[in-house]
Subunit: 136 residues, 2 copies
């Protein structure tokens, strides 16, 4: 697997670690500093701009109902300075499919977009091992 | 608006035109030729690789229940060779939020990833004019 892919997977893992730890400061640090970031939480309309996106994460992670979450089936699609990860999120309420976009900023892969939405449960039932993660 | 943003919006519009026209050949032509493409249809698990993604589009667009669709609220987030568009899809069954990722290939912006999922109806009811589309 190319070195960059491992770095992108590490950035993706850091996102889910911050999410699982309900750590809003870590979440804020791993998003790009640029204003041009976006986020589509499950069922929400799209949020645009860093202030709006960060406020949503603080609302979610600081609240009493912050979800438990884990990530699997992460597949990396990388270009030189932009990469996206397609993965599965497992929550108590079911499975979500997620797209996470990262850009290089100050030498690090930082998140610029997150989009998660529900997967019909039946679609996952016959799903076995992880697919390959080296796709670029 | 930067020139590239207009080109990306044109590529995004071509995607929705092929979708609305149920034109599987046009749909296939606007996706990147590279194998490393992905697609998350609403409620589906992620599809990986050009063959799998193109088969899904032929199945959807050639079928008797191919949906009517229109796109609004398109916002562009562009880097040099990769861009993504966040937009709203309107179908008879409701609203979807979509992320469309494009990469430059042979000098053209071509689709490498599509992810669409439902928006709760209430979230759209107070929504007025389009947000700005120049965000990068």
């Amino acid at each position: 697997m190319p070195h960059d892919d491992l770095d992108v997977l590490a950035a993706n893992a850091a996102f889910y670690r911050a999410f699982a730890d309900h750590d809003a400061d870590a979440m804020e640090a791993l998003w790009a500093q640029r204003d041009a970031v976006a986020c589509i939480h499950p069922g929400w309309q799209a949020l645009h701009g860093r202030d709006e996106v960060m406020a949503s994460w603080r609302s979610i992670l600081d609240g009493p109902d912050a979800p438990e979450i884990s990530c699997s089936h992460a597949a990396v699609y990388a270009s030189d300075d932009v990469a996206f990860v397609v993965c599965v999120e497992k929550l108590q309420g079911g499975m979500l499919a997620a797209t996470n976009v990262f850009m290089r900023e100050a030498g690090e892969w930082r998140m610029v977009h997150h989009h998660a939405g529900p997967i019909a449960r039946a679609a996952m039932e016959d799903d076995g091992d992880d697919p390959p993660t080296m796709l670029n």
